[in-house]
């Protein structure tokens, strides 16, 4: 490596490190402070917890005074069911739109791509009315339906791209082999889509897990609140219980991190395939 190359690589790394700190810093701060006493949070917010400042009071309060486990399981149910449906229907729709020519297929593809361009929140009022008249307000089903609608267009778009990269001969070979179309999709195409599915899974999960808007307008009782909404009860207009807020937020971060770690290898393969042959 020449000196110039080394300098450039150093520069690139500095930028990347700075960016990583910027991205990870706040999260680290939240997690760190969630293990400290209230006075320590305000006294020295940047210090890690030590023997004197360490405290689990936030977590205790969260578990004692709220339905955090219900919120948690609500969030998990909504996120995982939405993700599963988005992936299943997204992959199936992508397969149908790329593999079969049928009447209206172009129109259907166009219609679906509109969903990418128009944010679903614009339809909040209509959605609220729809859910109410369907008797679905204040249910997890309502949230799941909305999130599936929100996630589908992008997942169809991404998965179509990947399906097109699967050699056509492979499907033809399976057809010659007598494999039924549904099995071709589930047993030949879907396994090859694994990296793409991981990519779509992450892109789908994160906004759903973090969403505050739809739980706020569509759920009203404690039994249907999600974690992000549940945390809000510790944020008062006059007093905010920072211990509890930070503890609840730390717990809310955890599942996303776990899922990301599980999927990250596939995700990287998905993001770079095509770019690197």
């Amino acid at each position: 490596m020449t000196a110039e190359q080394r300098a450039r690589s150093l520069g690139v790394h500095l930028v990347l490190i700075a960016y990583s700190l910027l991205a990870v810093g706040p999260i680290l701060l939240v997690v760190m402070n969630s293990f400290k006493t209230r006075s320590a949070i305000f006294g020295s917010p940047l210090a890690p917890p030590d023997a004197t400042t360490f405290s689990l009071v936030g977590y205790e309060k969260v578990f004692r005074s709220s339905h955090i486990l219900t919120y948690y399981s609500n969030s998990l149910i909504v996120t995982l069911v939405s993700m599963a449906l988005v992936l299943l229907f997204g992959a199936m729709a992508a397969w149908a739109l790329t593999e079969y020519r049928f009447r209206g297929s172009t129109a259907l593809a166009l219609f679906l791509s509109i969903g990418i361009m128009v944010p679903i929140r614009l339809g909040s009022v209509a959605i609220l009315n729809m859910m109410r008249s369907a008797g679905l307000n204040d249910t997890l089903t309502a949230l799941i339906l909305v999130y599936v609608a929100q996630g589908l267009p992008m997942s169809i778009f991404i998965l179509s791209e990947f399906i097109q990269q699967i050699p056509k001969d492979l499907r033809d070979a399976a057809r010659c082999d007598g494999v039924p179309e549904t099995r071709i999709f589930f047993e030949v195409v879907a396994p090859l889509l694994r990296p793409a599915i991981a990519t779509v899974a992450v892109f789908t999960i994160v906004p759903i897990w973090n969403d505050l808007w739809f739980p706020l307008i569509l759920t009203s009782s404690d039994s249907t609140h999600t974690v992000t909404l549940g945390v809000q009860q510790f944020l008062g207009q006059y007093i905010t219980d920072w211990n509890s807020v930070l503890a609840a937020l730390s717990m809310a971060i955890l599942p996303v991190v776990v899922i990301y770690v599980i999927l990250s290898r596939q995700l990287i393969a998905g993001l770079t395939s095509g770019a690197v042959k």
């Binding site: 033809d172 057809r175 010659c176 082999d177 007598g178 047993e187």
Partner: protein, 363 residues
């Protein structure tokens, strides 16, 4: 095992006609090779036999049964693709058995067939491997194995050897020939490679622009091409063509004359004075020593030495090039003037419609 009958088959994509009235009869157990320039519709024809593409018109019968409306799996065919098309996430054994699950073959029978195909193709050691861990030749054998275990009536091969290197191509070619001898199944085989076509085929089908130009045994195509296209397509290097006219007709003989070669008499009754002709002679049939009715003279421009023989590129008096194959150590020198002769039976004559003019020499 079955025969295959194709009648008035057409294929159009929008306004472009890809196959135009294709008629072909293939006997039970026959090895038929489709050849033709790129884009002439060979793959399309094969895919239509397989049922992967629908016909725009015409009928396909396999074993006497019309199959137009049947799905690929119901036609009793198996196809081997140029890209092998192995399922990347299944090991070799699974690749071969995967399709059998859906056609109602019981597990014990599946295992028996896989074992037999593996023995035949020397794949026993590789059954648990994944396609990514195989060499190109091994992958090709697995693809062939996957076709064999289906015990199809008709095998369809689409350029199965074109991704292999030269040495492997020769050995796999021999294996395919052996396989055909062993299985005695009907095979339709698409290739670009003339040697493959000549060595493997019982009959060769020459296609051009979506039409069949000629169907015949390899040597028939070589020694008696039905038209100008087949004459130019079969054989390498390609046949030399000379423009000519019928000068006079006398007693069942036509005098053929043209620029660059010596006029000769053609024993045929079908020509008239003034007819335009094309005379074709293969480079390997142009010799220097002997005398023949056909003689062409020119100045040697370039000599390509291949060892056993050499190709001389010779410029005729009318400034056109032709190629002659010269055997042995004595190759002509560039700049040398030389005369080449051809025997009567090696001179092919085509009329204005590009069709072969039959002569008494053919007999």
């Amino acid at each position: 095992m079955a025969n295959l009958r194709i009648e008035h088959l057409n294929k159009r994509y929008g306004a472009t006609t890809v196959l135009n009235d294709v008629n072909l009869k293939i006997e039970d157990g026959e090895f038929v090779v489709l050849v033709g320039p790129s884009g002439c519709g060979k793959s399309t024809l094969l895919r239509m036999i397989a049922g992967l593409d629908g016909a725009s018109g015409g009928d396909i019968h396999i074993a006497g049964k019309p199959v137009n409306t049947l799905a690929p799996a119901e036609r009793g065919i198996a196809m081997v693709f140029q890209s092998y098309a192995l399922y990347p996430h299944m090991n070799v054994r699974k690749n071969m058995t995967f399709g059998l699950k859906f056609t109602g073959v019981p597990p014990a029978e599946r295992e028996r067939r896989v074992a037999e195909a593996a023995r035949m193709l020397r794949l026993e050691e590789l059954l648990e491997r994944y396609p990514r861990d195989l060499s190109g030749g091994q992958r090709q054998r697995v693809a062939i194995g996957r076709a064999i275990v289906r015990e199809p009536a008709v095998f369809l091969f689409d350029e199965p050897l074109s991704n292999l290197d030269a040495a492997l191509r020769v050995s796999t070619r021999v294996e395919i020939a052996n396989l055909h001898r062993l299985l005695k199944s009907t095979i339709v085989y698409v290739t670009h490679d003339q040697v493959e076509a000549m060595t493997l085929a019982d009959r060769i089908v020459v296609m051009n622009k979506g039409c069949i130009e000629q169907v015949g045994r390899p040597l028939d195509l070589y020694y008696a091409p039905a038209n100008l296209f087949v004459a130019g397509f079969i054989g390498s290097p390609a046949m030399n063509f000379f423009e000519a006219k019928v000068g006079s007709v006398e007693g069942g003989c036509a005098r053929v004359a043209g620029p660059g070669f010596r006029s000769f008499d053609l024993p045929t009754a079908s020509l008239r004075v003034g007819d335009t002709l094309t005379v074709g002679v293969r480079p390997e049939h142009l010799g220097r020593g002997e005398d023949g009715p056909f003689a062409v003279e020119g100045v040697v421009e370039l000599v390509e030495r291949l060892g056993e023989s050499s190709f001389a590129y010779v410029r005729r008096a009318d400034d056109r090039l032709f190629v002659a194959e010269v055997r042995g150590r004595q190759t002509p020198m560039p700049g040398e003037r030389a005369t080449f002769f051809a025997a009567a039976r090696d001179v092919h004559v085509f009329d204005a419609a590009s069709l072969r003019v039959s002569t008494q020499n053919d007999a």
